[in-house]
């Protein structure tokens, strides 16, 4: 039985017992401390005294060399060039402001240099040297050398600076490196970046940052009392980053960029067999070199505020209505899910009405195409045929079918910031607008207008998948890497993401034939690009409205301001029977797809298939 009255004597005895135990433990713990001090201060005293004595050993991080970037033929796209920079070691400089003022009398130092320097000064340890100016001229280097005695703690260092020898070529694919900022430092392992000044900001440089960067090394440096380096005691060499081989063909890339010229637009060319992106052009571009050591504020504003938006990666993030380029995919859906309609002949009077509705959906050809079937509807780009086919298919079937080709989804390319664009569905509309799906919206979805948006990359991937008869290859920018200190190249196997199975595989050929007729048929919308070819091109033109034309409104090209003109689109692959290149071209406000975008495709296909030896 438990006592309810407290037993004071027993409790006191218990407490005193515990106190004694506590005291014993305290004494043991204090002995442990004393033991450690005996070890550190008596037995290891010599060792630590040497470390701490007159000669000071400092540990300095050595940055790894960033991996190089090559194109598919070994042309160098990103390299590291030595460059002289003026560096301060803060712990050795008594008055930093005075030193900067004195040094600016012999070397030009801008306000932005000082701002950046001050920011870095507050973030780093005082023994880590911080660059004040990059890319000194030889003249400046020699002027400093003469005056060096006046500036203890200031040195000229040769550092490696990223350089993009091709300048603006493929700038949106390669991206660029620039100085690390605080947010990026939080994303990476700070010790591995303790000597690193630059980090990949966009493009390949960003996506493959961890491969390109490498591992930091350490120099244990002995310095005298003034802090001058006497010798390196121990060196753990940094491990350079891996080299990357891009799938981009820089020749083809230049042709694509030149073809776009002054237009705003994008060209994505892909090898359907393995997903290699052969060209990835977004125009206008920019010179990535100006970002590396810090772009000045005015130049950056100019780029950012430019109406042509050169910093915007159109190929990856630009969202455009696909227009008629969607028709082959809708047509294929028709053959699968509404074969009766798809295989019938329809009369195109130049307009289409839904049952029980007044509204007329116009064809681009005012007088109509007459009797059409699927083949001629694709070759001549008849809208009415597809209005009617879309109604028979319904939005749900179209959504599910197009989705298999990658519309409305990220393609899985190895670049950061890809856009999903938009493949509309009932659920999407209910979620976004709290409205049901209207039949009229199904009609215009059939010709790639309305809500539907696609990126040039998505269009290229969809075209490649169609050309492959359903094998969906993951698009990729890098096909091989080379680890440091070896000559062996690691090839990355291509990745098949999906295989679209049709109920009737013959339907692939029906659509491919129709697309061949776009270029090689007597009435094809792009027949002007089909002359003198040893192989057949399959393609589809598209002219996407930028703004809605009201019903029955007369539409005058001349009066429409440049920015409201139609986007010009073209998708193609060649050779049609055994495709080696698939591409998507978008020229913003270019006008008709057949007149502007299609001839560009011919240039690229010629360049790739007629000239390249492989």
């Amino acid at each position: 039985m438990r006592l309810t009255i407290k037993d004071h004597i027993r409790e006191t005895r218990l407490f005193n017992e515990r106190t004694v135990v506590a005291l014993i433990f305290i004494l043991i713990f204090i002995l442990i401390i004393i033991g450690q001090m005996v070890y550190l201060q008596i037995f290891s005293h010599e060792h630590y005294a040497t470390l701490a004595n007159d000669n000071r050993i400092t540990i300095r991080a050595a940055p790894p060399t960033r991996g190089l970037i090559y194109d598919r033929n070994g042309v160098i796209l990103a390299q590291n060039l030595p460059s002289f920079s003026l560096e301060f070691t803060p712990e050795r400089i008594s008055n930093i402001d005075e030193t900067i003022a004195a040094i600016s009398e012999i070397i030009t130092i801008s306000e932005s240099d000082i701002d950046r320097f001050k920011k870095q000064l507050s973030q780093q340890r005082s023994f880590v040297s911080i660059p004040l100016r990059y890319q000194l001229t030889e003249d400046e280097v020699s002027r400093f050398a003469v005056n060096r005695h006046r500036f203890p703690g200031v040195d000229i260092e040769a550092r490696l600076i990223r350089d993009y020898p091709l300048g603006a070529i493929a700038s949106h694919a390669i991206g660029y490196v620039a100085r690390i900022n605080e947010t990026e430092l939080k994303r990476v392992d700070p010790s591995n970046y303790s000597a690193t000044q630059f980090i990949g900001k966009t493009g390949i440089e960003r996506f493959y940052e961890s491969l390109l960067h490498g591992t930091v090394g350490y120099d244990h440096i002995e310095t005298n009392a003034l802090g001058r380096t006497l010798r390196t005691v121990k060196r753990i060499a940094p491990i350079p980053g891996e080299d990357l081989y891009l799938t981009i063909d820089s020749q083809l890339q230049q042709i694509a960029e030149k073809a776009l010229g002054k237009h705003r637009g994008a060209i994505v060319a892909m090898d359907p067999q393995n997903g290699d992106l052969l060209a990835f052009a977004s125009m206008p571009g920019y010179d990535p070199n100006q970002f590396v050591t810090g772009i000045d504020v005015d130049a950056y504003k100019l780029l950012q505020k430019s109406p042509n938006n050169p910093l915007f990666n159109r190929a990856l993030r630009g969202q455009y209505p696909p227009g008629s380029t969607i028709k082959p995919f809708i047509g294929l859906a028709g053959l699968e899910y509404a074969p009766k309609k798809a295989r019938s002949n329809n009369l195109c009077p130049g307009w289409f009405v839904l049952d029980g509705d007044e509204r007329r959906y116009r064809d681009w050809k005012k007088e109509g195409h007459g009797m059409t079937n699927l083949d001629s509807a694709i070759a001549e780009s008849c809208d009415v045929f597809f209005y009617s086919l879309a109604v028979d298919l319904g939005i749900d079937t179209m959504h599910d079918f197009l989705s298999q080709f990658g519309f409305g989804k990220k393609s899985g390319i190895d670049l950061v910031g890809e856009s999903n664009a938009l493949l509309p569905s009932r659920e999407w509309k209910r979620g976004k607008y709290q409205q049901p799906w209207y039949p009229g919206e199904t009609v215009i979805t059939g010709i790639g207008q309305g809500y539907t948006l696609a990126t040039p990359l998505q269009l290229a991937v969809a075209t490649a998948t169609l050309s492959n008869r359903g094998i969906y290859m993951q698009p990729r920018m890098v096909f091989a890497t080379k680890p440091p200190n070896t000559e062996d190249i690691d090839f990355i196997p291509p990745n098949t993401l999906a295989n679209i199975n049709l109920k009737n595989p013959g339907n692939w050929e029906s659509i491919v034939d129709a697309m061949v007729h776009v270029i090689h048929g007597p009435h094809g919308t792009a027949r002007h690009i089909g002359h003198k070819l040893p192989f057949k091109i399959a393609g589809k033109t598209g002219t996407a409205q930028v703004f809605g034309i009201k019903q029955d409104e007369e539409y005058d090209k001349e009066t429409v301001a440049d920015r409201l003109r139609d986007h010009s689109l073209f998708i193609a692959f060649a050779p049609a029977n055994k495709p080696r290149i698939a591409l998507a071209i978008i020229v913003e406000n270019g006008g008709s797809g057949s007149a502007v975008a299609a001839p560009l495709a011919r240039k690229i296909i010629d360049a790739y298939l007629l000239k390249s030896p492989t």
Binding site: E11, L14, F15, M37, A49, A52, A61, S191, Y218
Partner: protein, 376 residues
């Protein structure tokens, strides 16, 4: 009658009692604490690079802390019994408040901005948890029953969990220790203690994965500082160099090269012990440990002399917590424990934890000097 406050006269009970009764101070403790403060100020002067402004600010903080100790010494322990549940409840509410609306300082939410000043509720819990537990366990006969043990454990886990979530692992462990000390002093059977130790060892892997990245990094660095000599390992390497190069006699006051050449990070706060060791050597450390030991033994003596269970448990827990502070700090600076960010009591520069610590000494003194009043 002449009595010099500098000499501890605790052997002479009758005389000291006469003197003490008025001020409710325990002179041996006061002497020990003042000695520590003087050592602290001297080493701070050196560690800060002879910055007298910093020393002055520390003197002001010390004065405030001693004043708070004095005030708490005037409050008889039975008031603490009355306040125990309210203090505890308030503390838990404030901790919840911090989690919801707290200010972020150094990446962790610890502060509550009260407009005029910022307040760290976890500091309050350092006192509230042992007070609450001592009150709860002293209510019924000791050793506590299983039911009481379970409730007592919950009383510890709730605030500790909230603080660990901030995340402030150092303080959370300290408060857990304060609570566990009350349990140990209450006489829970040793087999429970050993069982718990086994359980904790078994749960170590689980605990590991619940740690934040930077906390994991600290532990890894502790295990092998040379792996990361510029990152997290830097503190420990430099601190060991400072201690080891001090040798038996030290380099002398103001002569520590490691500290003055700015190799040693946080040399005025958490790592001040390394500066002390470099300048005063092994002999200095030995004497410093003697001062600490003197204060701890005096604290334990006060605990054994306390007249009721509540006071006894509380006093025991408070003095052991003080020991943990010192022990953990010295161990982390000398590379025996991972860096958890606890200051060296009364020596490190900084005010928040010092005030709490001195408040706990005020309570100890109150327990000792109000004995007569309670028993009459």
């Amino acid at each position: 009658m002449i009595h010099t406050p500098g000499t501890p006269r605790w052997g002479d009970r009758r005389k000291s009692r006469v003197f003490v009764r008025g001020l409710h101070l325990d002179w041996p403790l006061v002497v020990g604490l003042i000695l520590l403060s003087i050592v602290g100020l001297a080493i701070l002067y050196s560690a800060s690079g002879q910055d007298s402004d910093m020393v002055n600010r520390q003197i002001i903080r010390l004065s405030v802390a001693f004043f708070i100790m004095f005030v708490l010494a005037q409050i008889p322990p039975h008031y603490l019994i009355m306040w125990a549940p309210f203090l505890y409840g308030l503390g838990v509410l404030l901790l919840l408040g911090v989690l919801i609306i707290g200010d972020e300082g150094k990446g962790a939410q610890r502060w509550l901005d009260l407009g005029i000043f910022r307040f760290q509720p976890s500091e309050l819990m350092k006192l509230a948890v042992p007070i609450m537990l001592a009150w709860y366990l002293a209510e019924s006969p000791l050793p506590p029953t299983k039911k009481h043990l379970i409730y007592a454990t919950l009383l510890i886990i709730v605030p500790v969990g909230l603080i660990a979530k901030q995340p402030d692992l150092g303080t959370a462990l300290l408060i857990a220790a304060a609570g566990i000390f009350v349990l140990l002093f209450s006489g829970i059977p040793w087999r429970y203690v050993i069982g718990c130790l086994f359980l904790i060892t078994a749960c170590t892997p689980l605990l590991w994965f619940s740690l934040h990245d930077y906390q994991q990094a600290r532990v890894l660095t502790f295990l092998n500082p040379e792996n990361d000599p510029l990152g997290a390992g830097y503190h420990i390497i430099q601190s060991k160099i400072a201690i080891g190069s001090g040798g038996i006699y030290g380099k002398g006051w103001l002569n520590g090269s490691q500290a003055h050449l700015e190799f040693l990070p946080e040399r005025t706060t958490d790592f001040i012990f390394a500066v002390f060791s470099e300048e005063f050597g092994f002999i200095g450390i030995f004497l410093l440990l003697l001062i600490y030991l003197f204060i701890i033994v005096r604290g334990l003596y006060i605990a054994t002399q306390a007249q009721d269970t509540f006071a006894r448990l509380l006093a025991g827990s408070l003095i052991l917590t003080f020991f943990v502070y010192m022990f953990v700090n010295i161990c982390m600076v000398s590379g025996l424990l991972p860096v958890v960010g606890l200051p060296l009591p009364l020596i490190s520069y900084g005010g928040t934890s010092m005030v709490t610590l001195m408040a706990s000494f005020g309570i100890l003194m109150s327990i000792h000097t109000h004995r007569r009043l309670l028993s009459t």
